[in-house]
Symmetry: C2
Subunit: 494 residues, 2 copies
């Protein structure tokens, strides 16, 4: 694509100045429209070293209100960021509705550079490309405008600029080893960029090239592309178009319907105590091992109110070194969270590698409470099954152990526990009017949960049902599943 | 203190087991009381290497609900954290109301270690001690319970444990160079710790020693200290005791009353354009310089509604490299922010060194809108003058340039601008009913602003009044002040 690109001829100075003045004013108006219509806009800027991305960005934003945009410089990841999935540092920086974020450098620059410098294999590179395409598509489907710009200059121009920058003591620091390497291997890089662009050029986030021969001309091209893209996005937002439902392409683990689950399973008191001690001891050893081998572990708890999630989590946590895990109770999202992709708050809570994160309620709220209470559209929650599978695939590709529990009880048991909570002063904080209201919707929830279990129990992140009419039984089963999952991962990595 | 400490004799096994069982159950009850009464609790754990802090913490939390506490391991700061004030990584980790945070390692360990290893001078060390005392006092005054524990063992016990840990291949990684150094220089360390503890032992956050000879005994001591401290804090919370008002100990810059400010100052159109270009160019050069010298810059904007803050900020931002600054518009706090010390959300928004943060409205909301709307108690906002001065002192000690602007207009000018906004479709988003309501309270605000300017214009973080009836005049003045402040800092650091 890049190789065959036919550039628009650069207009003469007078025309350029005229168009620029008009474009600048129009972009400023667009910024206010974005704010009003609550459109989140992500502009990513990639391209050749010394193509002038930074100074063009500096020019473009001069006409914008600095309170409603952000610029992020995304060069090499920090040590902390390296301990998270590779998309992490981008996902946590996505703008909120009504705001623009400019990324100076992006996932394109990162993965192509790693590939060119042979820091990752071709297989890993391909897998990253798949992740990137999903990421960009998810942003679009969740209402984001993603504008991707590639600043293009030819080999000679780059060489000339690098030499000039290096000569001047005020600018020589800007020339990195990688820039020089890039110029020396210009054709090789061009091949890789061209293929990358071809692969990731999608309807939901197309590529735009910028002929970066002069600052003013670059600024004009970028500004006009932004105006067009914003206008299209604003017009589309009004039509409430539905995103297509994608077919599932992950292999699945077959799950039973909730009504088929046998809830009579129990464990004897003495066996419980013995097993609990033994399993906690084993989990404690494994925690040490994953810490050393830097394996991240994510344990997700969902289940009926009063099913015993809290007590179950407590028995797992009790086996862990407090410095190596965190429990995240998930309530309704805060305003800053609601103003972004619904998975944003979970990306923000991912553990470092070698650590364990336990979620008390999770991202599955999207296909349960948000679905049933109408907090998102039908298209939103229907799309979410695949979006969540893709999210968990990122975690799996990062070598995380992912364990998902549905803590299950029957309706009578719930009633007995609610009544007990109501009547016991120390437990009253655990029961609210909302619990009673949710109970009335049991059948709707059951249907939603059945659908969720069926559609999101992938091989890499399967669901497990914990029969919790007998809480002891459920705790022992949870510990066994966690232990087995970690042991399996350790074997796999050997 | 530590040297003269008379230990409680360790009870025999039977008594210990009995007391432990009772204490564990009581602590679990306290955790629910904390949650109900919304008390935030910060437990910091320091002490000798190999004193067993980690495993004792592991035992203590086994009886707690893991959804309502956090453990933080605070060993050496990351590279990112090193680019912030030294208290930053502690402040951003303070618990929210109703939750407990356990810090395994704290500011004590960090500053004493830096001092012992001669990474900071005695002067810097003393200055850190002052900062720490202020930090702990502010936490207490803002409703936090701070429990400080020092795990104590003697030289021989430490040596024995280090040797044993090193022998075992599963635990040898736990023995650091610093642990060995500590044991080799036990007496020297003891002197420093003893003096540190003496200096930082205050009514608002006293020190407790733990005789760390055995795990169970340590657990019992720690649990009982926590129970007592929580009971005291909960009882005190009910009495609504006022915190004492401290005298100001910082040297101040004399400020005029708002009514004395001459608002007739103007600048001619042609001079404005010339000056603006020249000043923006100079600021742009300086931005480059502070980036290289890693000087952080914080610019705070407060002012009347419609005084011209937005346009002023835009002219400053236009001179800056977009990769090196951020504008933070400050609205009312989100729930997670409201549940913590009111300065928490500003600590979270501090720039990295070498970067510029511009705040559009600031922490001074505490002594303006929060004071006038009754969002905090009288004691809260009266205390805030000193708390804010202390906050800015931390920034100054970190070598930040701090510039605070009050953007000033008169009442008639505000009315004219409000009316213009109301009547201009593109500007209507800028005017809300709240603006009109605030206008009605002009006199109360004026009184609050006068008091704020008088009490918080320190030499290290002075206020500047921008006469903004003529917005152009105010913009030029702002740029000049920013340039001078940065130039002064550059000279000072030479």
């Amino acid at each position: 694509m890049l190789k065959e690109w036919v550039k628009e001829e650069k207009p003469d100075d007078e025309v350029l100045a005229e168009r620029l003045e008009k474009a600048r004013a129009e972009l400023a108006v667009r910024q206010m429209m974005i704010k009003e219509k609550k459109l989140p806009v992500l502009v990513i800027m990639d391209g050749w070293g010394a193509a002038g991305k930074g100074s063009v960005l500096g020019r473009v934003i001069k006409n914008l209100d600095p309170r409603f945009f952000k610029c992020e410089t995304l060069t090499a990841p920090t040590d902390e960021e390296k301990r998270k999935p590779f998309l992490y540092r981008y996902f946590v920086r996505i703008p909120k509705e009504g705001a623009i974020s400019f990324f100076d450098g992006s996932w394109m620059g990162e993965v192509t550079s790693m590939f060119l410098h042979e820091e990752i294999s071709e297989k890993e590179y391909k897998s990253h490309l798949t992740s990137i395409k999903r990421f960009e598509r998810q942003l679009n489907d969740n209402g984001y405008l993603v504008v991707k710009l590639f600043f293009h200059i030819d080999e000679k121009t780059q060489k000339k600029r690098l030499v000039e920058l290096e000569k001047n003591e005020n600018t020589s620091w800007r020339v990195s080893k990688k820039d020089k390497w890039q110029n020396k291997h210009y054709d090789k890089c061009l091949d890789v960029y061209d293929e990358y662009i071809e692969t990731t050029n999608q309807f939901v986030a197309p590529w735009y090239f910028i002929d970066a021969v002069s600052k003013k001309w670059s600024e004009l091209q970028m500004t006009e592309i932004l105006i067009d893209s914003i206008d299209t996005a604003l017009a589309n937002a009004q039509t409430h178009q539905k995103a297509p439902m994608l077919q599932n392409t992950f292999s699945m683990k077959k799950m039973p319907k909730l009504s088929e689950v046998n809830l009579d399973k129990t464990i004897k008191e003495e066996d419980y105590k013995k097993e609990l001690d033994k399993l906690q001891e084993r989990l404690s050893e494994l925690h040490n091992e994953i810490y050393h081998k830097k394996i991240p572990v994510i344990i997700a708890y969902e289940g009926w109110d009063a099913a015993g999630k809290g007590g179950n989590i407590k028995r797992v946590a009790a086996a862990l070194d407090p410095r190596g895990y965190e429990v995240h109770p998930i309530a309704s999202p805060e305003p800053a969270e609601k103003a972004r992709h619904y998975l944003w708050r979970f990306w923000n809570r991912l553990p470092k590698d070698g650590h364990i994160a336990i979620f008390d309620r999770t991202w599955y709220g999207r296909v349960m409470v948000e679905r049933l209470e109408g907090f998102c559209s039908e298209n939103d929650w229907q799309r979410a099954y695949n979006e969540i599978n893709e999210f968990e695939k990122e975690l799996a590709d990062w070598n995380a152990v992912i364990i998902k529990f549905w803590v299950h009880i029957d309706k009578d048991t719930q009633l007995a526990r609610f009544t007990d909570r109501q009547n016991t002063p120390e437990k009253q904080w655990k029961i609210t009017d909302e619990d009673w209201r949710n109970r009335e919707k049991w059948d709707q929830y059951e249907e939603a949960v059945d659908e969720m279990l069926e559609k999101t129990s992938t091989k890499f992140a399967p669901w497990h049902i914990l029969e919790s009419n007998d809480k002891h039984y459920a705790r022992i089963k949870a510990l066994k599943i966690i232990i087995k999952a970690i042991e399996d991962k350790l074997k796999e990595l050997k």
